[in-house]
């Protein structure tokens, strides 16, 4: 596992520098705009992109053909990618918190609670996205997986738009109140469960592959 994590870290080193730059830029935009939305959006996007980028690099290198001849199991290969997704989510949260603290200390217009209220749901969304994306990629490969995942992400948005046009969506304060109470608890439990289901499904798909 350590070797696999190191490999992805080295592979992504250039990308990490680029991501850091993006975060700083969007952090600045958030700071001057007085809204945490830009930064949160960027952090979510980056933590969604990192595991798929790592998988894509492995696919391009045909790494798995060689990797599976080494003392690693399919469980380790897949587990490492899910760990990466989780780590990105946690780092994204941590990074967002750090930036919001910086905003507060430098007298910015946005508060920590405001940032957290978008960051925490954002972290869950990024985990949820990876729950859907990773098994799709293991099944169909990165290119097709990306297209399918866009459809999967756009579909709920489309449904929400249609519901809104039909005035069938509940009011935002109602939704927020639900999220703060029961809904939040459901999401807190559901997302980790979905994450585990996604992991075992990915493992099953990976084991069935031939190289």
């Amino acid at each position: 596992m350590k070797g696999l994590i190191l490999k992805d870290f080295y592979n992504m080193a250039k990308s990490f520098k680029f991501f850091l730059l993006i975060i700083l830029i969007y952090g600045g935009i958030s700071y001057f705009n007085g809204s945490g939305a830009f930064l949160t959006f960027m952090i979510i996007l980056i933590s969604m992109m990192v595991p798929i980028t790592a998988l894509s690099t492995d696919e391009k290198d045909q790494w798995d053909v060689l990797g599976l001849t080494m003392p690693v199991t399919p469980l380790t290969m897949v587990g490492e990618k899910f760990l990466l997704a989780l780590a990105c989510c946690v780092i994204g949260l941590g990074g967002g918190l750090a930036v919001s603290l910086l905003f507060t200390v430098t007298g910015g217009q946005i508060s920590i609670s405001e940032i957290l209220s978008t960051l925490i749901p954002g972290a869950f969304i990024s985990l949820l996205y990876n729950c859907v994306l990773l098994p799709v990629v293991y099944k169909f490969g990165c290119e097709r997986g990306r297209v399918i995942s866009i459809v999967v992400v756009m579909a709920p948005a489309l449904v929400l738009m249609i519901l809104e046009k039909q005035e069938m969506l509940p009011e935002l304060p109602v939704v927020l109140s639900w999220l703060k109470n029961t809904g939040g608890l459901i999401i807190l439990i559901a997302v980790p469960v979905l994450f585990l289901i996604s992991f075992f499904l990915s493992l099953h798909l990976y084991r069935a592959k031939e190289w």
Binding site: K2, G3, K7, Y10, V65, T69, M70, P71, V72
Partner: protein
């Protein structure tokens, strides 16, 4: 003799190709050259041994274990080099060493350093910046640097210049100095096989045609040109393949001594290339 790898009735079917009833034993402590034309099934065989593809029938044991349930400790003893470098292309050579040392418990840093020095591998160069030959050298250095007992090499020398191939073959011979070490080298470069192999296994269209000691092949197979009338007199069981032109017939003989008596002249030994050509493309019998 103990077998490092044993394939029993291994069959793997694809659309348009199948590996049929492969029975192959790789004796421990030897170099087995695995030859065959492109698409004969060499890579499929190696991938089946490594459990990268699952056979439809049959069983394979590797270093005494079922290939589909290889333990971590057995995988530690297997070194693999494929045609084409599958190491991460963006990584520097030094970084490749670091990840492999984290993956193998018996990583031999001194061995890797020695081979890297011998191959003149630059630690700061990324894998993608290396030439094909240098990438293969890196892959070979990596495969040799964790104290393997079994090396599986799938066309590891193809596309390399003769000087580099010679260097690499010498390293393989050095590796074989440990009695328990075994090499299974698939190649369509016959001269490499002729140089280092103890045994030669020839695969054609998914079927194993023979597996013989290399020196015995030279004693057994011969190539002779003769008139058509002479060729017709040779018993069928002595003729492994033939090619007929307007003027004469060339026969690949399986049983040089016997054929020499019939021809009343010595039947020259066939080269391995001739054996492959006649068994693949000639009118094989």
């Amino acid at each position: 003799m103990k077998a490092a790898v044993s394939c029993k009735n291994v069959t793997k079917r694809y659309a348009g190709f199948s590996l049929e009833n492969l029975n192959l034993e790789i004796p421990a402590g030897t170099i087995v050259g695995f030859v065959g034309e492109n698409g004969a099934g060499k890579t499929t065989t190696i991938k089946a041994i490594l459990n990268l593809v699952q056979p439809d029938q049959g069983s394979i044991t590797v270093l005494g274990e079922d290939s589909q349930r290889l333990s971590r400790s057995t995988k530690e003893k297997i070194g693999v080099v494929f045609d084409g470098c599958h190491l991460p292309k963006e990584l520097k050579t030094g970084q490749v060493e670091k990840i492999l040392s984290a993956m193998y418990s018996k990583w031999d840093a001194a061995c890797f350093q020695r081979l890297a020095g011998k191959f003149r591998l630059d630690k700061e160069k990324r894998v993608k910046e290396l030439s094909r030959g240098m990438q293969m050298k890196l892959a070979i250095a990596a495969a040799l640097s964790h104290q393997p007992e079994l090396l599986l090499l799938d066309e590891a020398t193809s596309g390399l210049d003769p000087i580099v191939r010679d260097e690499i073959l010498d390293i393989f011979l050095e590796f074989l100095q440990e009695e328990e070490n075994t090499i299974f080298l698939s190649s369509h470069i016959i001269s490499d096989i002729e140089k280092v192999a103890d045994y030669v296994a020839f695969i054609h269209k998914g079927k194993l045609v023979f597996m013989e000691e290399k020196d015995l092949l030279k004693e057994t197979y011969g190539l002779i040109s003769c008139r058509k009338e002479e060729a017709d007199q040779i018993p069928e069981d002595l003729v492994a393949g033939s090619r007929t032109s307007a003027f004469n017939t060339t026969l690949l003989i399986r049983g040089r001594e016997e054929a020499s008596k019939i021809f009343h002249r010595e039947v020259p030994a066939a080269s391995m290339e001739d054996i492959m050509l006649y068994l693949s493309k000639g009118d094989a019998r």
